[in-house]
């Protein structure tokens, strides 16, 4: 299963303050640890909301609203996507987030990504037939008109 670790924005990220060298080092170490463990899929930091915009549909028409946005604590400053075996494993990784981030007061949110299994009924036991890659390729190509 996949989880997104959402790093909530704060006054500094919204002001575009660059992270300290020490934080960058610790963040890299943390990310490397997750890469080595085979769990990290992706991760990005975001520009402040001042550079962002919102699109709100009104009566079916898109209306653009330029940033920045006031509700700092509701905004996000970055995300990390991980793939793990359980919710607890995801929690364990989040707990290892560099504690100096946000001067010791960083707020993270953990959200599970919806996966195909969550729509379980579409998958039936009949599909357990054996098919290796090459076999599948042959089938696929054989069916091409």
């Amino acid at each position: 299963m996949r989880f997104m670790i959402i790093r909530k924005a704060d006054a500094e990220t919204e002001a575009g303050v660059m992270p300290s060298e020490q934080l960058i080092t610790e963040m890299m170490k943390y990310n490397e640890e997750m890469v080595r463990a085979g769990v990290m899929l992706a991760g990005e930091g975001l520009h402040p909301s001042a550079k962002g915009l919102r699109v709100k549909f009104s009566g079916g028409k898109p209306v653009l609203i330029d940033g920045p946005f006031a509700e700092t604590k509701e905004l996000i400053a970055g995300f990390t996507m991980i793939q793990v075996k359980s919710r607890e494993e995801a929690i364990e990784w989040v707990k290892r987030w560099p504690s100096i981030d946000g001067h010791g007061a960083v707020e993270l949110e953990l959200r599970q990504v919806a996966e195909a299994e969550d729509f379980g009924d579409a998958f039936t036991p009949e599909l357990r037939e054996q098919e290796d890659l090459l076999r599948a390729e042959v089938e696929q190509q054989a069916k091409q008109r």
Binding site: V35, E89, E126, L127
Partner: protein
């Protein structure tokens, strides 16, 4: 925290730390079976203590330290025995590392090296392939015997026995806990990659409901592949395998239709492909290509998968490139199935007549006798050439050879289609 919650938390820590702990301990005691038992003892201690005293701040460090202590106790016992058994004593001298001063060095050593030793030991060629798989999932994946058994639809006792026997075989053969030397490396690495790909295919063949542990094998294989790729970043085939698995996994949710029927690659809704995994797959393939422009078998298969991944629609597929990649694959890994794939690709790239000529050349291939895809491929090519009567007969023959009901229906439907106009 409730008891159940603490146990789940311990499971999670175990999942993250167990391979590293076993690897470090195995380096000290030089026996993966003993190492795993010592690590398990520590896990039991944690399960007893943490619910009462609370989970330590750095649970991984706690487990590792406790495991190292157990390893030291174990070695002291062995040393006492060694004093009585000259033979063992000599053996320890040869290793020269089983004594106190060397411990520190062992502990400080890069954990990555220990993990890599563990990977190669679990996939050692003296073990039967199914034993390598079970041991790898157990030691590196941190899966329980029960989980492995469920994933492979086997009784738990069978898997437990496989693991016990595998550990015994490794000990009996005195398999050294080390990364193979350069001369041995290609063969040993091939075994590691084969184990990982086998796990992946086992899960990929079972994208269906039932027990979630089966499809979870894909994730497990991907995780193992990514770990080995970081441990051996200089090996192109490791990245090739990771690329192949990421690209195949990217199509997992598109290959089953709403009614549970298989959806073939060229008919899949490409919007349902997982573009994050495609991106990861292409990156891994690029890593493999940077290391060696002549790709190995996994890299080539990944490159073929990448041709599909890069095509926005089925019509945009670069068939000449796929045909060329199959040429290269057929050189490295000659097999009638690869040859048949090549025939299909050539048919797509250069017209059905060229494809049919190659497919016909395979009609006396003993390994393809009874393989329904040979007549299915021929039928398709014949139909494209307007030879409807022959095509119909071949579709019917293919239908009579397949054991899969859905596939038979599909082939018979195509056979009937040959009648039209």
């Amino acid at each position: 925290m409730t008891l159940a919650a603490t146990h789940r938390a311990i499971d999670a820590v175990w999942r993250i730390e167990s391979a590293k702990i076993i690897a470090v301990v195995a380096r000290m005691v030089r026996d993966v079976g003993v190492a795993e038992e010592l690590a398990q003892d520590v896990l039991v201690t944690a399960l007893e203590q943490w619910p009462e005293k609370g989970v330590p701040d750095r649970p991984g460090a706690w487990l590792t330290a406790a495991a190292k202590n157990r390893a030291l106790d174990h070695l002291r016992r062995v040393q006492l025995l060694a004093a009585k058994h000259e033979e063992i004593g000599r053996d320890l001298e040869i290793h020269g590392e089983a004594f106190e001063p060397a411990f520190e060095a062992a502990l400080e050593d890069d954990i990555g090296d220990d993990l890599l030793r563990l990977v190669f030991t679990a996939c050692h060629p003296i073990l039967a392939p199914e034993a390598r798989v079970a041991l790898t999932l157990r030691l590196l994946g941190g899966l329980t015997t029960d989980e492995i058994a469920r994933a492979f639809l086997l009784p738990e006792a069978t898997v437990a026995q496989r693991i016990v026997r595998a550990k015994r075989s490794l000990a009996a053969a005195q398999v050294p806990f080390e990364v193979p030397r350069a001369a041995e490396l290609p063969e040993r690495l091939a075994s590691v990659l084969a184990v990982i790909y086998l796990v992946f295919n086992e899960g990929y063949a079972a994208t269906s409901g039932g027990d979630w542990m089966r499809p979870a094998l894909c994730d497990e294989a991907l995780r193992l592949g990514r770990i080995v790729a970081e441990l051996m970043p200089q090996e192109p085939e490791v990245h090739g395998l990771v690329a192949l698995m990421e690209l195949q996994a990217s199509r997992a949710r598109a290959r089953i239709g709403a009614k549970g029927q298989p959806v073939l690659l060229l008919e899949q809704n490409r919007a349902r492909w997982d573009h994050m995994l495609i991106g990861r797959g292409l990156t891994a393939l690029a890593r493999a290509e940077r290391l060696n422009s002549a790709l190995g078998p996994y890299g080539l298969q990944a490159a073929i998968a990448a041709c599909h991944a890069r095509a926005g629609t089925a019509d945009q597929t670069d068939w000449p490139r796929i045909a060329a990649l199959y040429d290269a694959l057929a050189q490295l890994m000659p097999s009638p199935v690869v040859a048949l794939n090549r025939a299909v690709a050539i048919g797509m790239a250069y017209g059905p007549a060229a494809g049919l000529e190659l497919a016909d050349a395979l009609s006396h291939e003993p390994l393809l006798k009874g393989y329904h895809l040979l007549p299915a491929v021929r039928a398709d090519l014949l139909l494209k050439l307007g030879r409807r009567v022959e095509a119909q007969a071949e579709f019917e023959r293919a239908a009579s050879l397949t054991r899969n009901v859905r596939e038979r229906e599909l082939l018979l439907e195509r056979a009937r289609g040959c009648d039209a106009s």
